[in-house]
Homo-oligomer: 343 residues x 2
DNA sequence: TTGTACGCGTTATCAG
DNA sequence: CTGATAACGCGTACAA
């Protein structure tokens, strides 16, 4: 009974090898390193595999080789457009590589992150991409124990677990405030939702920049831990106006909030930017098409994803070309919503 | 040398068992079915595992058991907010289950889908969630060969591979047109981008509804295969106006386009809804906060994701409670952007 | 309730 | 360039 089938009806390497008239190990080599085979056998194995519809068993492969071709990705949110862009970059970049992506959602919880990290540990991923730099000590030790390349994304900072690609949220926010100050605005409000670590750093940037200008006033700040949304931008802005009716500008920690503020201004017949300047953060696609166009800080989210994948994959293959910490920077996209008063 | 380590330095089940003073199979049972152990051994294994920091090897588990606890998910896009919501539902629902999600991006290509389906085949997923009903014949046979529960999402239709959860894009669009007609609009334009199968069905719904009303005119239709965006809404609307200057309403295949149309109207000082009614599709969060609020067709994207997960997981465990095809319906959210002329 | 024997499909190692 | 042999770590089936 040559070529007996496995219980599940699946074709194994052995069956392919038998049909090709080679040993199973030769067939195995064909899939990992075809060049190592003589042309003759290479063709025989190839056609045998095709004829039988052979599908390699990834579990067996992982068990025997102690590795997988999976890059684990931990990201805190799916709702947030920012992460959607990063993920898109990650998935796009992964397509030109041999690795596949295993993405999990930490829901902004570092405990959930820790749990998922352990789950990844059980899977022996080839590499890891994690969001931010605020992991628990336990998470850090799990990561260090995993001995695979790891890239932290979204931020830059000291003491990377391994590699990093991001930008300084602090600096980006300072740049936005400097812009508003340069345009002559003085009572600049701050609107923040979903106060994750990166948003916190933006708040710090805002606070310090305002203090440096001698303009800091806690009443100019409105934040909420709840998630962000366009509608929320309107309600938070209403709160801010109630608290500080004399504001002449508002910096929003993201573009959804900024859009909500714009609509709220339209509703209240507050002229933008004549009576109220608006600045967002991230520069989502729609910011350039609003009326008036909204100023924002462009962040390189998509590229962050692609770079992260490139960095891990290169590291997996033993050649680390870039510096361990890559700063992708940002760019202030000054638009009409923040032009100087009287212009 | 009791308790010898594996080469990779990882702790195995055997080590845990030795420390607990039981056989490895008892330790194995502890992880799969703790109730089957005596209390005594259960505790011994538990503490041994904790002490050693045991991490189960998923590959070995999958190889030995011929199954995994992974649900594969194929979705065409990450950029599209619609899918972000579906994915969120999927991930949220998966958290209360034992299964983890393996998501891949088909990029609106049924060939890519076919390839990814084969890749999943190699992984023996416990279940599958695929988008839409327009798979290639090859994809269908791969799916049928995988003998795991499969849910097609986003649409309803005849001939499910296994199960389905979605709604009728055709009916939803007909409802939107009926609404506009009821409000007295007659020259209703259609704006479509990224003409995927579901958008095509919306176009059919539009065309038939307009024909039924004796109002169909090909010049009222503008479509483009390129991807959707707020900015694109503005440019497509400009094209539509050039082609049919007398339109009094416009139906957009999604909310991003509708938002772009609204901004273009603001730019051109076209009063909404007095001179131009606008209706979107999906009812994203921001539709209620624009000025004026935009009418849209609410679709149950998040629930689609959660239901899909529930349906696969129940099927995996052998109890199929719901009908094989679930229609989640839709709801017309009539807002100010489409109120009758003169109201 | 617990344990024994064996197999899962592949790759690593080393010899030829 | 090719092949034999021995893992890889765990679960299944059955026996005790």
């Amino acid at each position: 009974m040559a070529r007996k089938r496995t219980k599940s009806g699946k074709i194994r390497l052995t069956e392919v090898a038998q049909l090709a008239g080679v040993s199973h190990i030769t067939a195995s080599r064909f899939f990992r390193n075809p060049e190592a085979l003589s042309l003759d056998k290479r063709e025989r194995v190839e056609s045998a595999a095709k004829e039988l519809g052979y599908v390699p068993n990834l579990a067996a492969r992982a068990l025997a080789s102690h590795r997988t071709e999976v890059i684990g990705v931990l990201i805190p949110s799916l709702t947030n457009n920012v992460f959607a862009d990063v993920l898109r970059g990650i998935y796009d970049a992964s397509e030109t590589s041999r690795y596949s992506i295993q993405f999990v959602n930490t829901r902004y919880s570092i405990l959930q992150e820790e749990k998922l990290l352990r789950l990844f540990q059980a899977q022996m991923p080839a590499g890891l991409i994690v969001t931010g730099i605020n992991q628990t000590p336990e998470s850090r030790s799990v990561m260090e124990a995993m001995n695979c390349p790891i890239v932290q994304i979204m931020e830059t900072g000291a003491d990377p677990v391994d590699m990093m690609v991001g930008f300084s949220h602090y600096d980006a926010t300072v740049a936005a405030i400097s812009h508003l100050l340069a345009q002559g605005f003085r009572r600049i409000g701050f609107l923040g939702a979903r106060m994750d670590p990166r948003v916190q750093r933006r708040l710090e940037g805002y606070s310090n920049a305002m203090k440096a200008a001698g303009l800091f006033d806690p009443r100019l700040i409105i934040t909420t831990p709840v998630s962000t949304a366009v509608t929320r931008g309107g309600t938070l802005f209403a709160d801010l106006l109630a608290q500080a009716p004399d504001i002449d500008a508002v910096l929003c920690v993201n573009d959804d909030l900024a859009l909500g503020v714009l609509f709220e201004c339209q509703r209240r017949h507050i002229a933008v930017p004549e009576q109220m300047a608006i600045v967002g953060f991230n520069d989502l696609e729609f910011m350039a098409s609003t009326v008036p166009p909204l100023t924002s800080v462009r962040t390189n989210r998509y590229e962050m994803g692609t770079r992260a994948v490139i960095m891990v994959t290169e590291a997996i293959e033993g050649r680390r070309t870039s510096a361990p910490v890559v700063d992708l920077g940002f760019e202030l996209m000054a638009r009409q919503s923040s032009v100087a008063r009287g212009n």
